[in-house]
Amino acid sequence: MNLNSPALVPLLFLAAAISIPLLAIRKEKVAYPVTMVASFVSVIISSYNIFHVLRNGPLTYHFGGWFPPIGIEYVLDPLSSFVALVVNVIAFFVLWHSSGIQEREMPGKSVPYYALTMLFLCGANGIIVTGDLFNLYVFLEIFSLAGYGLIGIGEKQAPVASFRYLIMGTVGASFYLLGIGFLYIVTGSLNMADVRNILPHIPGNPAVAAALSLIFIGMGIKMAIFPLHGWLPDAYTYAPSTTSALVAPIGTKIAAYVLIRILFFVFGVQFVSQSLPITDLIAWLSAIGILYGSVMAMAQNEMKRMLAYSSVAQIGYIGLGIGLANPLGYIGAVLHILNHAFMKGSLFLVAANLRKKTGQSDIANLDASLRKKLPWSMAAFTVAALSMIGLPPTAGFFSKWYLALGAIDRGKWVFLAVILVSSLLNAVYFFRILEKIYLIPPPQKTGEDLHPEAGKGWGFLVGEEQYSLMIPVVIVSFSLLLIGLGNANIVKEVIQRIIPLGM
């Protein structure tokens, strides 16, 4: 188990993806259970991995017994095992939730859908774990293609949104490929650690600079850094609810992870922040993205679209953390990968519940009757909203705290102001919704009043209709409180162990 661990999760998902269509020939209903088993096992393995790595040091696996730099190597260090755990846990909860809405949103398509989710997660885990640049491209494409498929299975507008995402995403991946082509030509190796060692010996090579720029643009498109974010709003809005809940917390974070890995661990901190200061560019673009995303989110009328623009803003925080290129910024960025995954995951799941209950998720139609129909979802929404605004003790406060410290450390007061102003902007568009669900009475009178005392059940413990819809949302959302209170442990045990050299 130890030595094979790094490769287990991607292979597990690959096996699941292949077996689902095969097994479903006999019986369609087998798709969901297989998915859940695979997802659950992946969480177990990821948890085991991270504990092992934190106690005993990095794990590597060499495919086919070929040693690097010739062979392809999979590496689990604190960063990759951390991100893998986050991705798999969120995916688990989203997939658990999907059983309730599957039939309504994608009737009759459960087999291909779940197979695609398995492929998506296979790609995601492969990207996280791999130590080889080209292998990363392969898994990136697996991940992206599955994503295009997942988004395309949706409403009428979904294929169009997916198509546009496909074009832009392929351009991004192709730029990445071109970038590693340059790197290969100059260094002769595709192994990340090997390239890391070779690069300092060839300073001032324009091909290296070209490679860096191309990789940055490529991953920037996938990460939806402003102004390369154009594909995101439509893709998240028109995709089926489960896809949004799956892609939003995971998709752009994987790209951010790749950027962190390549910028800081392959090219090196010194190169990306001083020789060719691409981190400054990333920081500025992210700052603009934060403001742009927050402002656009305020103008939206439909919840999923609002959350999509909000995601552009939130990925800006991670980009800002990367762009600061100091330990605190890095900590903020990595912690925000975790925090945002949980925040956006729970928000999109609540939007899904909303759609299931009322058929739509327009903000104008929200009113206080939802508090009786979906009390726990609304409570989960509130906690997640407070976290997005950045109020203690939720997790969101702490990402901003570290980013603020990082910004002050570099003396970048503008970024500090951006972080703080964006919290206020977040408060505006979230409180708009909170006001509606807590204060605006429902339009028609059916003799139903809003006294919570009149609800059925035991005081406030009125349940919602389907537990499979309610429980994952509540767990993900209330975890934000636990993550917030325990964030120092996460930072010290995990993130600080893997601060890139030179910071």
Partner: protein, 500 residues
């Protein structure tokens, strides 16, 4: 003076957590009103008892500390029941007991909706307030400060009318922005000083500053705590928040929220910057000016309010700046006076708000112009009102006189006559805007006969208690709680620079 010794105790932790534990119990008992009220009362009594148990130690210079766990590498979520913290916690928790009794009378008298949400939010607010009182470092302070903001929001918008909702929005805009400024200031302080632990006499140690940097930092802090402390021009949320039910205005906006603000101001002046730094960069002059302007302007604006609660709100704005002024003067007596005023103003103002609420519940009157002759039908209520008003004007033998006297003395000690003049003028203005109310209530015949008499005992008893307490504390400031001794100890620690 013995130097303080620290010991580990779970008392501060339990004092904070009691009402937090009560909150889910309150939510679960939403269908059984008496059980629900029982949780509130029980929590308030237990909380006050726990804080009271910390008093002897604090007086003897022994500080109870409790560390939750690390909340950021190198900074722990930690509580420290030092003298200042115990002082504030006593006031907040003690007055919560009275406010809970009063609230029960109030919401039942009005048959208010959403009572469960009301009592649950109150419980969380008090938890946050005690957390603020006992915060051992700036990050813990910010942590509970923001929780207080969020927990008070449901109370501000309680009535759910358009006015209440827009008041809530204004409140949030002001307080959330303040929170952000405070976070920025805290982060910056951490980078400069390497620590966020409150230290009497300042935590910056030997760090050197450029005048511009320190001024900006101070302004950030002032913006952060000044909103809750209602210094002008950051005060407009307070009159707007009068849209909340009166017990909310009474406790939160006369005791918990605003006093958290001034508590924060004194912590910043005395325990973060320290007297030396404040004087070195003339920050104290700036603060004193802001406070002085606020006192006068607020008192003048109070005249123009016909709505009783609004007049009380502006009066609160003015009196809060007494405390800020006391902090700004940084002299022994001014600090004592400022601290005493935290307690004294609390008892007097809460009496006034209780009276306003009683009048509203019984007679549904909000405007001063409608209160002719009400003293005849509500003798106890208006009697207490009169006592409290006299006290706020600074007339002996009520406690308001004591804190005012100390502040005046402190002004002379600092060698400044202008603050003294401001205080005297403000006293006259106070009398000026309270007198007509009393005059109308007792000496003018009612325009329309009143249908009801006194308010229910659940409301009258607390307000009589607070009024009498104001009188007793005026006669002996050290009665029951040793407020005076605590205030002198805190003042001494700030000025003497004794490390806590």
């Amino acid at each position: 003076m013995t130097s303080p010794e620290m010991y580990i105790s779970t008392l501060p932790f339990y004092a904070v957590m009691v009402s937090l534990i009560a909150m889910p119990l309150i939510l679960l008992s939403s269908r059984h009103a008496n059980l629900r009220e029982f949780w509130t009362l029980a929590a308030s009594i237990v909380k006050f008892s726990l804080v009271f148990l910390l008093l002897p130690g604090a007086l003897a210079g022994r500080i109870a500390g409790f560390t939750f766990w690390e909340i950021s590498p190198g900074i722990a979520l930690a509580l420290k029941a030092d003298q200042f913290g115990v002082f504030f916690a006593l006031i907040a928790s003690g007055l919560w007991i009275l406010t809970s009794i009063y609230s029960i009378g109030y919401v039942r008298g009005l048959k208010e909706h959403k009572q469960t949400r009301y009592f649950a939010s109150f419980a969380v607010c008090l938890s946050a307030t005690i957390g603020i009182a006992f915060a051992a470092n700036l990050l813990t302070f910010v942590f509970f400060y923001e929780i207080l903001t969020i927990a008070t929001y449901p109370l501000v918008i309680h009535k759910e009318t358009k006015i209440a909702v827009s008041a809530g929005r204004k409140y949030l805009v002001y307080t959330l922005t303040a929170g952000l400024l405070l976070i920025a200031a805290t982060a910056w302080t951490y980078r400069i000083a390497g620590t966020l632990d409150f230290r009497a006499g300042g935590l910056f140690g030997d760090a050197s500053f450029s005048p511009a940097a320190i001024t900006v930092l101070f302004l950030l802090f002032l913006g952060g705590v000044g909103v809750k402390a209602a210094v002008m021009p950051l005060h407009s949320w307070l009159p707007a928040a009068m849209a909340a039910p009166t017990p909310v205005s009474a406790l939160l906006h006369a005791v918990a929220v605003v006093k958290s603000g001034v508590f924060g101001v004194v912590r910043v002046v005395g325990f973060v910057f320290g007297p030396a730094l404040m004087r070195q960069f003339d920050l104290n002059i700036f603060l004193a000016t802001v406070a002085g302007v606020t006192i006068i302007l607020a008192s003048l604006l109070a005249f123009r309010q016909d709505n009783l609660k609004h007049r009380l709100a502006y009066s609160t704005v003015g009196h809060l700046s007494y405390i800020v002024l006391g902090a700004a003067l940084i002299s022994p007596a001014s600090l004592v006076g400022g601290l005493l005023h935290i307690a004294n103003h609390a008892t007097m103002k809460i009496t006034l708000f209780f009276c306003a609420g009683a009048i509203y519940v019984r007679h549904h009157k909000e405007k001063i112009s409608e209160l002719d002759g009400i003293g005849r039908v509500m003798p106890w209520t208006m009697g207490a009102f009169t006592m409290a008003a006299i006290g706020l004007a600074g007339i002996p033998p009520l406690n308001g006189f004591i804190s005012k006297w100390q502040l005046g003395l402190g002004s002379l000690q600092a060698g400044e006559l202008l603050p003294l003049a401001v205080l005297v003028l403000s006293g006259i203005l106070n009398a000026g805007y309270f007198a007509p109310i009393i005059f109308r209530a007792f000496l003018k015949p009612p325009t329309v006969p009143y249908k009801h008499g006194e308010a229910s005992p659940a409301m009258v008893i607390p307000l009589v208690i607070t009024a009498v307490l104001s009188l007793l504390l005026g006669l002996d400031p050290d009665l029951f709680f040793h407020f005076h001794r605590l205030a002198v100890a805190v003042s001494g620690s700030i000025l003497g620079g004794i490390v806590q």
